[in-house]
């Protein structure tokens, strides 16, 4: 296997059910999935098909009932919460539908945050944050608060925040759902460009057909199964 084909995350025989009162809802039923380094993988499907559940499992913020998850070479099933948190901190990035920036922090502080909690020295953080903001075209907005930015700009900040620590995998849940079509195109281009530049894979849950047409691979989900 070449370096470019190396898997970033593998899901083997994943089952996940949710319990709502007396109802048992099977969210995932035997998912096998491999995400390769640098690829843009789109997950599509109707609401309730299991897209977000796969994202949560790949992002180590949820655990499967059955099956195995391997992040790089790390088997994550046996990790405790603290170990999973540290793995998220070091290896994963997140882009949310509604941006989820911290409103009291400036743009630069939001982008800096993942490096700060990872204990990266301040001079290196400053350089990396500035480079990342330049890359997403928001260098001049470094000291603005998120509420002073447009939706597209906010999502670019979120992408910069996700990529600044050079993660292996970025989890993006409906990243263009809150944006107009033009801005959505720009954000998608940016994700492609920055993902390839940083060598990060993207797993994107989306309903947007324009977005899926520009991804490297598209997987459709229905009733918790890959089609």
């Amino acid at each position: 296997m070449s370096a470019s084909d190396a898997s970033v995350v593998e899901l083997h025989g994943i089952h996940k059910t949710y319990h709502l009162g007396s109802h048992v809802i099977p969210a995932l039923q035997g998912i096998d999935l491999t995400v390769r380094r640098g690829e843009l993988l789109a997950l599509t499907g109707p609401s309730g098909s299991g897209k977000s559940t796969i994202l949560n499992l790949c992002g180590l913020i949820d655990t499967p009932d059955r099956g195995e998850i391997v992040l790089g070479t790390q088997h994550v099933n046996g990790l405790n919460e603290e170990q999973r948190t540290l793995l998220r901190r070091d290896a994963l990035g997140f882009v949310f539908q509604s941006f989820n920036l911290v409103p009291v922090m400036t743009v630069a502080e939001n982008v800096d945050y993942p490096l700060f909690i990872a204990g990266v020295p301040a001079p290196e953080r400053r350089e990396r944050v500035a480079a990342q903001l330049r890359a997403v075209g928001l260098h001049e907005h470094a000291h603005h608060r998120p509420d002073a930015l447009s939706g597209g700009q906010r999502q670019r900040v979120a992408i910069a925040r996700a990529l600044v620590k050079r993660p292996r995998l970025v989890i993006a849940d409906e990243p263009t759902a809150s944006l107009d079509s033009h801005t959505a195109d720009q954000v998608l281009d940016l994700m492609r460009e920055r993902g390839h530049a940083e060598g990060a894979a993207f797993v994107i849950a989306t309903h947007d057909s324009r977005l899926t047409s520009r991804c490297d691979r598209v997987l459709a989900l229905l009733d918790g199964r890959l089609q």
């Binding site: 949560n56 992002g59 913020i61 949820d62 603290e82 948190t85 540290l86 998220r88 901190r89 070091d90 994963l92 997140f94 949310f96 989820n100 911290v102 409103p103 009291v104 922090m105 502080e109 945050y113 993942p114 700060f116 909690i117 990872a118 925040r161």
Partner: protein
Amino acid sequence: MNWMWLKFAVQNTLRNRRRSLVTVSIAALGTAGILLGGGFALSTYQGLSEMAARSTGHLIVAQPAQFDRDEDTPLQHGLDNAAELREKLLADPEVRQVLPRVSFSGLISNGDKSTVMMATGIDPDSEFAVKGPFLSVTAGEVLSSGTTAAEVMLGEGLARSLKAQPGSSLTLLASTTDGALNALDVQVKGVFSTGVPDMDARFVYTDIATAQKLLNTQRVSSLGVFLARMEMTEGAQQRVAGANPTLKVQTWLDQAFFYKGVKDLYNRIFGAMGLIIGVIVVFVVTNAMSMAIIERTREIGTLRALGTLPNQLLRTLGLEGMVLGGVGALAGAAVAVGVTVFLLVVPFEMPPPPGQTKGYPLIITFDALMYLATMISMVSLTVLTSTWVARKTVNMPVVDALAHT
């Protein structure tokens, strides 16, 4: 601690300024209330302890039986060698004065009417020199040493009862140390008020020679030892007791029953007040932080997803409590200092306490240790409360926190 956490905490407290202002105000009022109440209690303790020590002396030296047993006859347990002992005590460099006392009771009569008196024989010049204006003279003059005439000062109520005034002649009647009844004519030199009507109705001061003549003795009841400073009391007690093993040495505190009663009462009152203030602060901070954390549950989920450990979030939320409590404590301390200084510049007279006829100035003591302890307590309380409120949310599953609306 990294300053970024503190900066983040300060920024978070400014999100909802009105809510933070209410929390800070409650913490400030609580701190000011505790400091002002505590300062008032301290000034009261200080005033009462000085009054007690000035009344009895910092140390009281007497025969052990004088403290422990009742007398069958006047001065049965008195000191024989008072003059010699006085010289010995005065040799101690920390001793400022030694005053002999003759305490006795008997009757006082104007010829037509007799009434019970509680009398004390004193060395007038030394007593007034050491104690200053400890009596409020309402008529006539204070006693003086070296006069040949037998003179007395009467409490205001007693003088009124006997229709006596300066210059009036009265007769003192008391049992001598032999058990015989003796009488002595005296002249009223002055009338005084202690501020306590019950005492003014019975108290008589006379010079020590007159008292000894009436009781037919050379003994004194006790020696009051006055020191340069209150803090010297304990050390001086040990030295004097060690040098006079046959005698007993008590401190002013052993005889300050009023002081101990007031202190016990005030400690309970202000302790309860502090507790109530603490509970109010806990409720207010709990409410403010609960609302802040509920509003930020999704943000907390985001920060957890990004790799923030629960303890790191608890720390920053605790810092928010510290900022609120710290600003409140500082503001409260500033208010307390302001009120303390204001009362020094513009004196305020308190009404007379129950059983007394005179008011007293309202003074608030500034005690750096009390300020420090109160401020640290206030900050600790807000930090602990914030951390306790936040612990559930920062530990909730990240998926649930992100889904919070």
